[in-house]
């Protein structure tokens, strides 16, 4: 009966349990382990989920499963890497993290604008508090910036949605297709939605909050924001634009093409001059958002299904790589100077970070190469001036990114550190890094199964259940 919503129920129940236990349990470690258990249980339950639609607002299709798996994986890595500073984190930390995760899981299945909006807010509002969790000046500033930008973008999204509802008389995205016509108001609605979701995706010129927020937040939360929260924007855009707004696809596809070109170029060029690692990763994450938006720009072409599969692959791979790269910063530090001679100070972290950075550059046979390659292929298959320009820009930007990723690798292995005292590498953080690296390698080595499944997922979501 309620089989379709089991992962969300598990996460919600544990979130409530943890907040209750927070005031009775003296050992805070237990709360961390409980939340890890919740995420693991929810992940296992994904394999048993029935494929169905409930009430016409909630669909469990393969597309939703892919995103749920991404969110749960990132949350697992984030919680694992948070276990290090047990005393700094109170029970609210894990509880709010799980509630935000619950919102993301719900969002993955939303096929109704109302459901989608509530889930989006459930995922976003706890993350304001998480961004400012240490309540010092730095994290509070990050939280405040994040709050203001997220609320403005939510306002734009709601306005766009209300116009769509006024035009079509329905909030179900599959019913909208037949009722939506091309006119000024539907263009206006899609403009509001593009702008609102571009904030969530941190696409240029709506990116300004991302570097400040990622830099100011506690490092595991930076990983959570860039690897999970940001992916919600792509998820919602794929659902709303490719399905509901398909009658006016030619208009918004062009907007996404422009956004993609600007976003990847801007992100990669600004990343070159950063000296703070978290800031650099934030700009690189803007660049990668640009790569994913390439696929969104191809949704009105004949290769749309392939482009969606490529986007899903890059979303999955980038989430793991970026989470891992941020988590490495917990051990190594934030400043680029801290990375000099890291191979001597913290050899395991340095090795893992090197593999993740190579994957971010796109070195075969790692997963980052594969996913970029598929996006490139879909741009070339799509052809036309838009496809070829975006393909060329993707290659050029990948070349630019070698410089700033490569600089960290060269600092770690070839630069001399001022003091070469060993840094303690906590087991939990190392474990999170190893999981990320294994995922990156395995996806890179066995692509065909995953790509086939993603293609199936893309098809399932186009048809509807």
């Amino acid at each position: 009966m309620v089989g379709y919503i089991v992962p969300e129920i598990i996460i919600g129940a544990f979130a409530s349990l943890i907040i209750l236990l927070n005031y009775t349990v003296t050992q805070r470690k237990i709360l961390g382990y409980l939340s890890l258990l919740a995420v693991a249980l929810a992940f296992v339950s994904l394999f048993k989920l029935p494929r169905m639609t409930a009430w016409g607002i909630y669909a469990v299709d393969d597309f939703a499963i892919v995103f749920k798996a991404v969110f749960l994986t990132v949350a697992f890595l984030v919680i694992l890497s948070s276990l290090k500073d047990i005393n700094k984190r109170e029970g609210e930390y894990y509880s709010l993290l799980l509630m935000s995760l619950m919102g993301m899981l719900l969002l993955a299945s939303s096929i109704d604008l109302l459901m989608l909006y509530v889930a989006l807010e459930l995922a976003t509002i706890p993350s304001f508090i998480l961004a400012g969790f240490f309540r010092d000046k730095q994290t509070s500033e990050a939280a405040m910036k994040y709050f203001v930008f997220a609320v403005v973008s939510s306002g734009l999204i709601v306005f766009g949605m209300s116009l769509l509802y006024g035009l079509t008389g329905t909030t179900n995205i599959y019913e909208m297709i037949n009722r939506l016509e091309l006119n000024t108001v539907s263009i206006l609605a899609s403009l509001f939605l593009v702008a609102g979701f571009a904030f969530k995706m941190a696409a240029f010129p709506f990116h300004a909050w991302a570097p400040d927020v990622y830099q100011g937040s506690p490092t595991p939360i930076s990983a959570f924001l860039s690897s999970a929260s940001k992916k919600m924007g792509f998820l919602a855009v794929l659902r709303i634009f490719y399905i509901a707004l398909s009658p006016i696809a030619n208009y918004w596809a062009l907007a996404f093409a422009i956004l993609a070109a600007l976003t990847m170029t801007y992100g990669n060029i600004v990343a070159l001059s950063q000296t703070n690692i978290k800031r650099m990763l934030a700009y690189s994450s803007i660049g990668h958002a640009g790569y994913i938006i390439i696929a969104l720009a191809l949704l009105n072409t004949k290769v749309a299904i392939f482009a969606i599969a490529a986007a899903l692959l890059h979303i999955l791979v980038h989430a793991v790589m970026k989470a891992g790269a941020f988590i490495a910063g917990i051990v190594a530090g934030e400043n680029i100077e801290d990375y000099k001679g890291l191979s001597k100070k913290a050899p395991i972290t340095a090795l893992m970070l090197t593999i993740l950075l190579l994957s971010l550059i796109g070195v075969p046979p790692l997963a980052g190469f594969l996913s970029k390659f598929y996006i490139l292929l879909s741009a070339i298959y799509a052809g036309g001036s838009v496809g070829y320009v975006l393909a060329v820009l993707l290659v050029v930007n990948s070349a630019i990114s070698i410089f700033y990723y490569g600089r960290i690798i060269s600092y770690m292995y070839w630069a001399k550190a001022e003091n070469e005292t060993k840094i303690n590498e906590p087991l939990s953080v190392t474990l999170a890094l190893i999981i990320a690296v294994i995922l990156v390698i395995v996806i890179g080595l066995y692509p065909s199964e995953i790509v086939n499944y993603l293609q199936k997922a893309a098809e399932s979501f186009v048809k509807g259940l």
């Binding site: 409530s16 409930a54 909630y58 509002i125 000024t184």
Partner: protein, 160 residues
């Protein structure tokens, strides 16, 4: 005819009170005229046969949200509020935005898509929708409130 006269009276009240919200220098008076605007909105809903929404509008907005705003004003009373000046460029931008959006919205025919005619906003029908079709977002919203509450208590609590 009766409806038209009623609508015109309410419109004048709504427009004047919303102008007063951002023109008045005294923030407390601004909040009070906002409450007038919200009550007028409730009357509009009542005129459209949406009694339930009218009641919710008064309960949630005129009741809850406004009390929250007044509390916020009272708690931050010591600080001098910074009222931004109405410059020419801002006024032009505002007027241009209003005129353009009115132009686009007026050009469009909305009657064609009156949403779900058979659905009447009585308590029973709203309850059925809320606890059947929309039970998942309803529960999600309750988690959302819980998260906001936990977060607010956490941020307000003293460290350690």
């Amino acid at each position: 005819m009766k409806d038209l006269i009623m609508f015109l009276i309410l419109s004048v009240i709504a427009v004047v009170s919303s102008l007063f919200v951002f023109l008045s220098k005294n923030i407390f008076r601004g909040a009070l005229s906002l409450s007038l605007l919200l009550v007028t909105m409730a009357m509009f809903f009542a005129m459209l046969n949406a009694e339930f929404i009218a009641a919710v509008q008064i309960l949630v907005y005129a009741g809850g949200v406004l009390v929250l705003i007044l509390f916020a004003i009272m708690l931050t009373k010591e600080r001098e509020p910074s009222v931004s000046e109405v410059t020419t460029s801002r006024a032009v931008a505002l007027i241009a935005f209003v005129v353009l959006s009115l132009f686009y919205l007026a050009k469009h025919t909305w009657e064609k898509y009156v949403p779900e005619k058979e659905f009447s906003a009585t308590g029973a029908s709203v309850g059925t929708k809320l606890f059947q079709t929309y039970v998942i977002p309803f529960e999600a919203a309750s988690f959302l409130l819980l998260a906001a509450m936990i977060g607010a208590i956490y941020l307000a609590r003293r460290r350690g």
